[in-house]
């Protein structure tokens, strides 16, 4: 894994945390349970022993106390049994070291004639106090058993368990991290593979090494990749076939078209001499040949774009001069009004001419026979706006305007092939530009050609030597 594809690693962290939590809770519960069990056992053992001792001693007590309470205390002291004798006169301990205050609750239980116990703390010592009435008297006898050892053992056990639990948790964290990484490794690889497929490397495959769920997943990923690759190849092949067909058709049409165009041009030169009944058909023939020619030209151009065979020839261009020349060359001086500032840029002169002429031609055809062209620079981009006051284009047609063979009104027999705007757009894109359209029904339409400006000079394009007057020796 040379490169972490998912830098956050959140899933890995979450997996690790979950692993640690499970291990921590399980081992914690186990440790706590065993601690409680041991504690319970030790304490009840101690209590049972204490109870047996207390019962036995209580049976002996009446005999001993009959002589004197001191006798009782002395006897127990000798036997190392710590007692506290509570008589009407007060509390007398057999060993002043074991003289805890007797809790009131215990005394009232003992007072009612029961054998009762309570664990108390005297200073820092853990004591078990069991009390009972000395048979045949109202005197209470309390036996005090130290439980320090038990408590020390339990504390030790608790510490051992705590440390053990901590070690388990840390180990679980490490193991969990390792496991999470190993588990998620295939995911990281898969996402890397998916990304490289997205980048177009369709031959990307995942290694199927293990016979587990990830192995199966990798295999199905590979199946998907194969299917995708095959599908894309088929699509590309189909597209290439279609493009070849378009290209072949337009090529095959060219030869008869060349003959037709030549013949039509000869007819055109001799229209005057034709008898009236053939003259009109001849005129129509000439027109239709021109239409066919435009269509074939544009088909060929489109197929060149599709083949990626179009190249651009960059030159210094004075945009304003180019547009004015294009208008003059087509005899549109009366219909097209050009305004704006001089813009110098580096671009392909012929393609620019083609785009602008197409936009103007369109505007004149659909925009009521007149249009306005304005030229300028807006930030980093030069623009050419072609505005007409025609009937406008309904907004639902706007997104398809640059589609091939799209005609807003199919019933209307326009002179265009339906490829003009598509070609203009291809040309604009080739020049690093774009064409935008704005239109409102009833108001008019505005096409805006946007071009990158690499070189923007105030005024004219690079200085050109003055045109010289005439051919002279």
């Amino acid at each position: 894994m040379s490169k972490r594809p998912v830098p956050t690693g959140r899933l890995r962290r979450r997996l690790t945390i979950a692993f640690v939590l499970v291990a921590g809770i399980a081992s914690g519960a186990l440790a706590l349970g065993s601690f409680l069990l041991v504690r319970q056992a030790r304490l009840s053992d101690s209590l049972d022993a204490a109870k047996a001792e207390a019962r036995f001693d209580l049976v002996l007590a009446p005999g001993l106390i009959q002589i004197s309470p001191q006798n009782l205390l002395g006897s127990f002291r000798q036997n190392r049994v710590n007692i506290v004798l509570v008589t009407r006169g007060g509390a007398l301990p057999s060993n002043s070291n074991f003289n805890p205050p007797i809790p009131r609750g215990l005394r009232s239980l003992v007072g009612s004639g029961q054998l009762a116990y309570q664990r108390v703390m005297d200073g820092r010592r853990h004591l078990l106090v069991i009390g009972g009435l000395i048979p045949g008297s109202k005197d209470e006898l309390y036996f005090v058993f130290p439980e320090d050892r038990i408590q020390r053992d339990l504390a030790q056990l608790r510490n051992i368990l705590l440390v053990g639990w901590g070690v388990v948790v840390i180990l679980a964290g490490l193991v969990g991290r390792l496991l999470a990484r190993r588990t998620l490794d295939p995911v990281a690889k898969a996402s890397q593979a998916a990304r490289s497929m997205a980048e177009g490397i369709l031959a990307t495959r995942l290694p199927v090494t293990k016979q587990d769920e990830f192995g199966a997943w990798a295999a199905s990923f590979n199946e998907m990749a194969e299917a995708l690759e095959a599908k894309i190849a088929a699509l590309q092949e189909a597209q290439a076939r279609e493009r070849r067909f378009t290209s072949d058709v337009s090529h095959e049409l060219r030869t008869p078209l060349t003959a037709l165009v030549g013949e039509a041009s000869l007819l055109a030169e001799n229209l005057e001499r034709m008898p009236p009944e053939v003259r009109r058909p001849a005129e129509l023939l000439i027109q239709d040949v021109a239409r066919l020619r435009r269509l074939v030209d544009e088909l060929m151009e489109i197929s060149r774009f599709d083949a990626g065979r179009e190249s651009i020839q960059v030159d210094s261009v004075d945009l304003m001069a180019l547009i004015q020349a294009a208008v003059r060359a087509r005899g549109w001086d009366q219909q097209v009004e050009v305004s704006g500032e001089d813009v110098a840029l580096r671009s392909d002169r012929r393609r620019l001419e083609r785009i602008v002429a197409n936009l103007m031609g369109n505007a004149l055809e659909h925009g009521g026979g007149r249009c306005r062209v304005s030229v300028g620079i807006n930030g980093q981009r030069a623009f050419v706006e072609v505005t007409d006051r025609g009937q406008g284009i309904p907004s639902e047609h706007l997104p398809h305007l640059f589609d091939r063979f799209f005609k807003a009104d199919p019933s209307r027999r326009g002179t265009g092939s339906g490829l003009g705007l598509a070609i203009a757009m291809e040309n604009a894109r080739l020049l690093g530009g774009d064409i935008e359209v704005w239109s409102e029904v009833g108001t008019g339409t505005r096409f805006t050609l946007l071009l990158p400006v690499m070189e923007s000079l105030p005024g004219r394009a690079p200085a050109v030597s003055p045109q010289h007057e005439s051919e002279a020796p």
Binding site: A259, L266, P473
Partner: protein
Amino acid sequence: MDERVLLVEDDASIREVAAMGLKQAGFRVTTAVDGRDGLMRALQEPVDVVILDVMLPSLDGFEVCREIRKQSRVPILMLTARTDTVDVVVGLESGADDYVTKPFEMPELVARVRAVLRRSSSQPEETTVSVGGLELDPASFIATKDGRELSLTATEFRLLLEMARRPGQVFTREMLLDRVWNYDYLGDSRLVDVAIQRLRAKVEDDPAHPRVITTVRGVGYRLERR
């Protein structure tokens, strides 16, 4: 008039209509159906201009053009398919003077034929132009450099003459297209570039580092005064 045009075109309809158009315009037309026949006629018959289709059986238009150029500087007009911009450049590099893209209208073809003929017709009233070691005689169409004769086609001669008349001046491609090729509007400026390259190959001592015809970046070309 009465200039002789050799039309080499394999498609019968195009051949017939082009021949008819040229005849109506006052030319004398002979035709050839394939490259070999065309080459033979171009070299053996008196011809003032050759119109060559690119796609020809037996010997393609470029080959025919190169073969003709080895022996003759008769003006050559290529008929190319617009689809292949490569055609244009290859055609010009093989020595054609100009090209017309298919499909074309008759007046267009006739105009281009007249333009190449005008370039190759001598103008006896003009005097010899000399710049540096170059001498150009418009009457005889002979160009020499340091006394050595250069074999230039009519178009190359015209191009050199145009620039030699005003040495030191920068000519834009458009100006040269207009003056040499008689394109009044938006011709293909590659015509100029290719012709300049061919011209340099004949005029310069080291065509890779031109010193006679220099490029003015972004503007055009200039013939140095020296």
